[in-house]
Symmetry: C2
Subunit: 301 residues, 2 copies
């Protein structure tokens, strides 16, 4: 049976609530209001159980009144580094399902995740980041990579980005994800070295490397997401201007898209780290409670 | 006397209309409707006089009914290359003030502009592109560079980008332009080589290289344009979240911003080529009549 497509982020949380499996979330230093609100929402929705790792008294006090503490456990930690290590260990040992970042620096958090002997990164694995955004007129979720982790992807990292984004699309119910390899225009050119790798990746995609997908590029944002722009430019693309995934050339372009979408468009967004052995939620300092909730939901999917 | 600040693109065309100087625009192959509408508007506004360079019969027929042909001259050309060369020659010889692109390939057009003996590029000059955009909530025009010409700016090209954008700001009446050097975050880092050049450029700016300016970076889009985001992140910046200019690290980021603003935000935009001996308008194939008009207006300012 085909599962219905999850076409916006509220449908995502509704889907998790309907599925009714409560997953254990190890929250590192979950003392800020936005993290607590997100965890409270997921707990109230019946799909999360929180394990707060940090200074217990402080966390209890912060959480009091914001959530049902009967759905929470507490693990004491001496400091941020200790909290990150202990939370990672819980996930590693199967005592928690998902890792989530609260009020702790990304460097401390990621150091524990990336620890070679005690972390959550498989040997030789590529760690990358997939963002999800929705905006009113598009009618479906748009995934893109990588606004946060890999600065300048090598061809092998690029392949990993495609693979993870496709996998996330499938989890959202998109059977045949449409993947756009983005650049400034539709011409591959030596002026833009990234575009020279696109043809090989597209050929591999057409040969089934990532299952049933449609993949094309270079395309720009418009020819990826606007059927009319394709027609106007006289271009034919298997994506038909309805991309599910945008793979940006580098972090500078992807991060610009992320910031423009959240700040200027006001689009609701979420992010998920890919390539770890277990799901890891890596919100930004400036993310609001909704973004943190949806990011947690993407990790729980 | 301080001139009033031109805070949106309609004020720009109103300013030119009020100034009442009619400038001669050499239009290369001006046979497409959007170019003709833009030229017609500028002509009707009293600040342009068109010299159409191309196949005369064809151009006359296309322009008929769209504009007042008594405000137009026609120069015959055998083909696109010939038209581009002849139009550039008119501007070079002082018989026209501004060059504008119609239905002709950018390569053909730019080849004539960049011709070493007969073009419009000064010896050793840096050619770069400045875009202008407005969106409802910002309250003023936002300039950014470079979405179209320089792929990966060297430090010297970066300085030229700052200089040209500052000069365009001043023409718009901004006395002390606020310039943000953009990257993913506010930290300069060896992971992001562009950010390592920013400190020197900022120091030169503070020493007055570009006159009275405020310049800061790395900043991201949000800390450049949102005072509240600055406060939330606990950052102090002389721009105070009110940038007039965003200098993006490379064409991939700037082009992503341009496409997101025009396609998703629906922001009105314009573009101007900088570094030529005389103003050159370089619209994109997909630009509508309004964008072409405002781009012409920026060149006429």
């Amino acid at each position: 049976m085909m599962s219905p497509i999850i076409s916006d982020l509220d449908k995502l949380t509704a889907h998790l609530a309907a599925r009714g499996q409560r997953r254990r979330v190890a929250v590192v230093c979950g003392t800020d209001v936005d993290t607590l609100k997100a965890v409270a929402d997921a707990t109230a929705g019946g799909y999360a159980h929180a394990i707060f790792v940090g200074r217990v008294a402080e966390t209890r006090q912060a959480a009091e009144g914001l959530m049902d503490l009967s759905q929470a456990d507490f693990v004491d930690a001496a400091d941020d580094t200790d909290a990150a290590r202990k939370a990672v260990a819980l996930v590693r040992n199967g005592e928690a399902d998902v890792l989530m970042k609260g009020l702790v620096g990304s460097d401390v958090y990621l150091r524990a995740v990336l620890d070679k002997t005690a972390g959550l990164l498989p040997l030789g694995g590529v760690l990358t980041h997939v963002s999800v955004t929705e905006w009113a007129d598009y009618g479906k979720l748009l995934l893109f990579s990588d606004a946060a982790v890999i600065p300048f992807p090598t061809p092998e990292q690029r392949r990993a980005q495609v693979g993870y984004a496709v996998e996330r699309c499938r989890a959202l119910g998109v059977e045949e994800p449409r993947v756009a390899l983005i650049h400034c225009s539709e011409k591959a050119s030596e002026r833009f070295p990234y575009t020279l790798d696109y043809a090989d990746i597209i050929a591999e995609g057409q040969q089934g490397r990532w299952g049933k997908v449609r993949i094309d590029g270079p395309l720009d944002l418009r020819t990826s997401c606007d059927a009319e722009a394709l027609r106007t430019k006289g271009i034919s693309s298997p994506l038909e201007g309805q991309a599910d995934v945008l793979i940006f050339p580098n972090i500078e372009a992807a991060n610009t898209f992320y910031k423009t979408m959240t700040f200027i468009v006001g689009a609701v967004s979420a992010g998920v780290l890919c390539g770890t052995t277990r799901p890891v939620v890596l919100p930004s300092r400036g993310d609001d409670a909704a973004t943190k909730l949806y990011s947690l939901a993407m990790a729980l999917l």
